[in-house]
């Protein structure tokens, strides 16, 4: 059995080690995000890549909360989770330990502040999205029509080309009259499957935390990058589902027609942001490549670890 002093020292080491671990997992998440944003294997297994991004986002968020907290809790000489409980207990009884000063309390407060900001922006994002969706749904109910050529979807009488999904418990798939003119029946069917996949797999909820992060930290380039990447992956996932059911050609055709529909009138540079992504998606449909199973498994293992580390630190 180790003597008493050794145990005390190991407690202090523990506390410092916790902060180091949080810092390390934050760094790891940042590095993984950089690699993920640059790699193209993700296009071949978008579902795995989406999971990876979610794990990285969770890990980064928890580490950002945990790092200042664990630094502030070093005087307790134990794990972050149990130290937090001890601090709450001490605050309740107004008996703070000798080594715990204002700086320590401030750091714990910063941790809580970061957590609160992340939480409130998420809630605000949800609130904003739900309100916009309700408004959109109300208007659709008044002006959209059903059409026998697109069963289960709503049609907007407008010459512009648009196809989208209004997500929710009772999702709506909407296409414009311009889209009906633009696409042949096979292409239309592929597009509708694409939209239904968005609705069924609740891709709006997949995107939500990243949208919220963009709102909370709009100046952080890599957060915006993450959002862009995940949006593209979500589209690719829906593309995959559509090609499973309708083969590759109709979907690629539909995408190309969408791209050309914009270019027909204004030859250069008038398209929106999705333009470059559209080209990537078409290219991807031209070749059939097997999903990189090994690479995907490794990436999933690495990112899961990056997310599990801060969770385990909070539970210790």
């Amino acid at each position: 059995m180790p003597p008493w002093p050794t145990r005390r020292r190991s407690g202090r080491d523990d506390a410092v080690a916790h902060s180091l671990h949080f810092a390390a997992s934050m760094l790891a998440c940042w590095l993984i995000a950089q690699v993920l944003a640059r790699s193209t294997w993700t296009w071949r297994s978008p579902r795995v890549a989406i999971l990876c991004w979610q794990a990285v986002g969770l890990g980064a968020g928890l580490s950002a909360v945990g790092l200042p907290m664990s630094l502030g809790l070093t005087p307790y000489q134990r794990g972050t989770g149990s130290a937090l409980l001890a601090l709450a207990d001490d605050l309740w009884h107004s008996t703070l330990p000798a080594g715990l000063g204002a700086v320590h309390l401030g750091l714990v407060g910063v941790g809580f502040g970061i957590g609160a900001v992340l939480l409130t922006t998420t809630v605000r994002s949800i609130h904003g999205a739900v309100r916009a969706q309700r408004r959109h749904r109300d208007l659709l109910a008044l002006v959209a029509r059903r059409d026998p050529t697109v069963p289960g979807a709503l049609v907007l009488d407008h010459p512009g080309a648009a196809a989208y999904c209004l997500p929710g418990v009772r999702p709506r798939v909407v296409v414009s009259a311009g889209t009906l003119d633009l696409l042949n029946p096979a292409e239309l069917a592929a597009v509708l499957t694409h939209e239904r996949t968005h609705a069924q797999e609740r891709h709006d909820l997949v995107l939500l935390p990243f949208t919220a992060l963009c709102r909370a930290l709009p100046w952080l380039g890599w957060v915006r990058k993450a959002h862009e990447r995940v949006s593209l992956l979500v589209e690719m996932r829906a593309d995959d589902k559509a090609r499973e059911l309708h083969a590759d050609a109709p979907l690629a055709g539909a995408l190309q027609r969408f791209a050309a529909a914009g270019n027909r009138i204004t030859p250069a540079g008038a398209l929106g942001l999705g333009d470059r992504d559209l080209a990537v998606r078409v290219q991807r449909l031209m070749v059939t490549e097997r999903p990189p199973r090994l690479l995907g498994a490794v990436a999933l293992a690495v990112t899961t670890t990056a997310a599990a580390l801060p969770i385990s630190l909070f539970l210790s």
Binding site: A129, A132, L156, A162, G262
Partner: protein, 123 residues
Amino acid sequence: MTRLGDLERAVMDVLWDTVPGRSDGITVREVAETLDGRELAYTTVMTVLDRLAGKGMVEREREGRAWRYRAAASREAYIARLMLDALDLGGSRDAALVRFARSVTGTEADVLRAALADEAAER
């Protein structure tokens, strides 16, 4: 809900289609008469118009003892607004929709925005 939604739509169609020239709006009784085939009670039509007013879809003005109702915006303006949402030109930062692909030229976007601006200027 679906039934109420159908009624709201039918009432809006009346406001849009049967009284295009009259900007002073029509009364509940006139709406009910136009919807004669549906055999709706006067109070039902009033409730529907009330709901629509609550949502900001119709505007009303008192004339003597009755209210006169008219659509707050044209059908085309509502479609333009939905298309702006659909093409991600609405300026919202919230991820309210998931889109297949965006295809819009600068000209089309201008036309859509102009449709909304005209509507706002008329009132």
